[in-house]
């Protein structure tokens, strides 16, 4: 015997108004900043391009095709085979260089050959068989005939990798150091900050250069050296933030709960200064990339055949008088990345409402 459940007309459940977190607010504010959003997606695109691109590219960053050295962007490639030695491997050259270099220099009338190649893709003249290869190098090749686009993608991996890893190193040191110093306070704080002040006065770029010159130019050393330079500002910023936070009630509550110092610093204080940390980290990445490319430009950073954008710009600058695209394309990608990161950092600063720490 069951009684039917009493039918009560309940009002439809009220929509629970969702609280808006700091991060949601920040995301909304960031979305209003068109430039920052565009920068964010452009930067993500560039990163994907650099990290996935080399897998899709038919070329590698170190494979050399000397006869094709410094061919222009999209220059049509022609394969040259001497008719008297048909079994020989065909020598590649570009359409506009017929009659100039290598075996193709035997061609007396390059214009006719060009026209014929454009029309039929095959031409025989002066004892040579010319064939259109059908493939092109999108951005041309460097002086050793390596595909420039692939090298730019590979260089981007190295540059971005150095940028992010060194920033991570500097974050790790800087945040821990700054938060600890501020939380402990008193004499410990004074001594720790004195050390930072003294290190600040050292001409660090000079030391990084010295380090790279003297101890082989390894990538690992580069990370460590740059990371070791960049943590100082981070430590100062975090310290300033924690100093003002540590007097707040939630720290007192954590203390009352009997939590240890380490737990309070890492679980309660640091999460609350994430805003400034993120903003500063975003601005540190381009700074690190810049430092790395300065080193590479001076010939002290990444060594060939490995490449970073700094190396590519250096190589481009060496031959820019004849082949300006070798300078222009890497410089474009590098500057675009710096651009995105700087705009993004600025946008994040506004969105997370971080007071400029550069005063």
């Amino acid at each position: 015997m069951s009684r039917p459940a009493p039918q009560v007309d309940l009002p439809p459940p009220e929509e629970i108004e969702e609280g808006s977190s700091l991060w949601k607010d920040a995301w909304h504010r960031l979305q209003k900043n068109r430039l920052a959003v565009v920068s964010l997606f452009l930067f993500l695109g560039l990163t994907l391009f650099c990290f996935l691109g080399p897998f899709l590219s038919p070329h590698t960053h170190f494979e050399q095709q000397r006869p094709l050295g410094s061919s222009g962007p999209l220059a049509p490639i022609v394969l040259v085979t001497p008719l008297d030695r048909p079994e020989a491997a065909p020598e590649p050259t570009t359409l506009d260089r017929l009659g100039e270099r290598g075996p193709a220099s035997r061609i007396q009338d390059p214009d006719t050959a060009r026209r014929a190649l454009r029309e039929s893709g095959r031409h025989t003249a002066d004892g040579l068989l010319l064939e259109s290869a059908g493939r092109r190098h999108l951005l041309g090749t460097d002086t050793l005939g390596r595909d420039l686009l692939t090298r730019i993608m590979h260089g981007g991996r190295v540059s971005l990798g150095v940028g992010f890893l060194a920033t991570a190193v500097s974050l790790l040191i800087g945040v821990t150091y700054g938060a600890t110093s501020a939380y402990l306070g008193g004499k410990t704080d004074a001594v720790m900050m004195r050390i930072v002040d003294i290190l600040y006065a050292l001409p660090f770029t000079i030391f990084v250069i010295l380090l790279m010159v003297l101890f082989g130019r390894s990538l690992l050393l580069l990370f460590l050296a740059i990371g070791a330079v960049e943590w100082l500002t981070m430590a100062r910023i975090v310290r300033g933030q924690v100093l003002s936070l540590k007097k707040m009630e939630f720290v007192e509550a954590a203390l009352a709960l009997g939590l240890g110092t380490r737990r309070i610093i890492f679980r309660h204080l640091i999460p609350n200064v994430l805003g400034p940390i993120i903003v500063y980290a975003t601005l540190t990445v381009p700074a690190v990339m810049l430092l790395e490319s300065v080193l590479s430009f001076l010939g002290l950073g990444v060594q060939p055949p490995n490449a970073s954008w700094g190396v590519l710009i250096k190589e481009g600058a060496e031959s820019m008088t004849v082949f300006p695209w070798l300078l222009i394309f890497p410089a474009f990608f590098f500057s675009l990345t710096l651009f995105c990161l700087n705009f993004l950092g600025d946008g994040l600063r506004d969105a997370l409402d971080v007071r400029s720490s550069r005063d």
């Binding site: 050292l202 001409p203 003297l214 001076l298 710009i313 820019m320 710096l338 550069r358």
Partner: protein, 324 residues
């Protein structure tokens, strides 16, 4: 004020000591020596050379001798003009160069530093003359085209590093237009491209800093008071706001100086300028111990003194900061 300056000057002594010690042992710990890349020399000659330069002594003895040599022994600023200002005026002996026979590091610094200094000062002047007025104008005419256009340009300037701008300048103005020489340091016109290459980033950065600083000051109560008193806008901006608004620029001068020095390494390389930066890089590449130590020490002293000057100016502009 005097106490602050003296205190800070004394503070530089341990810093310089740390720098000398670090550099000395770092250079020595590196593989290779100044004569290891020389054309095949007989072991006897190598021995004599090491003996001559004191490289056979125990490392700590060498270190001690070096410290003794670089300690200033006199102060005669009147003898600053001549072949060897550091030695004549202060009694500092940075030792002989290991790579340039018969030349001392003192002489080489005296010879090449003025070139670097000229480059750096020109770049700084460009940065101040272009950057600061642009920033002030952008702040005063906020959200107008006078704000957006120069500030977007400034962002471009920040994102184009000197080693990109330098070659492009050389390409466009040197080769294509033929207005300037691509490299060298002979005529006055040779200064223009390198100085702009080096100064552009700082001009852009200072434009942003002075805009930010001015905007913050212009929103303050005392500016409203000044306007309410009926002062002319020009007076409000140039007399009342400027002093506080330029503080960020002044604090940036310290880092800017260090940056100009390391930037000059790059610019001197691009434009083949015979400055101190190239001596430093070449010295390090060639294991020219005394040259590296001398230049690092020289740069470090320079940066520290400049930072001190910047701090003093900052306090003069902003009485809220006490000499700490």
């Amino acid at each position: 004020m005097l106490k602050f300056v003296v205190y800070r000057l004394f503070q530089t002594i341990p810093v310089l000591f740390v720098i000398v010690t670090m550099t000395f042992f770092m250079v020595r710990a590196a593989p290779g020596g100044p004569f290891s890349e020389e054309r095949q020399v007989s072991p006897q000659i190598l021995e004599r050379m090491n003996e001559h330069y004191g490289l056979n002594d125990p490392l700590l003895v060498q270190y001690w001798n070096y410290l003794k040599n670089i300690t200033p022994k006199r102060f005669r600023p009147d003898r600053f003009h001549g072949e060897d200002p550091l030695g004549d005026a202060f009694g500092i002996d940075l030792g002989p160069s290991f790579k340039h026979e018969g030349r001392t590091v003192n002489e080489m610094i005296a010879e090449s530093f003025p070139v670097s200094l000229e480059l750096g000062l020109l770049a700084l002047a460009i940065a101040l003359c272009f950057g600061v007025p642009t920033g002030i104008l952008a702040a005063v005419r906020r959200n107008s085209s006078l704000d957006y256009v120069p500030m977007s340009t400034a962002m471009v300037g920040i994102c184009l590093p000197s080693f990109v701008i330098g070659p492009i300048f050389a390409l466009v103005f040197g080769l294509w237009l033929g207005w300037f020489n691509v490299s060298g340091w002979f005529q006055p016109s040779d200064r223009i491209l390198p100085a702009f290459t080096l100064g552009l980033f700082y001009a852009a950065y200072m434009a942003r800093l002075s805009r930010g600083g001015m905007l913050e000051i212009l929103s303050q109560d005392y500016i409203r008071t000044a306007r309410a008193k009926g002062l002319r806008e020009r007076t409000v901006i140039f007399i009342h706001a400027l002093k506080g608004g330029l503080l960020p620029v002044v604090s940036f001068l310290g880092p800017a100086l260090a940056g100009l020095i390391s930037g000059s390494f790059v610019v001197e390389t691009i434009f083949q300028i015979p400055g101190l930066g190239r001596h430093f890089i070449n010295g390090a590449l060639n294991r020219d111990y005394s040259m590296v130590l001398g230049t690092v020490l020289f740069y470090a002293t320079l940066i520290i003194i400049m930072n001190l000057l910047v701090d003093i100016i900052q306090v003069m502009l902003n009485p809220k900061l006490k000499y700490e």
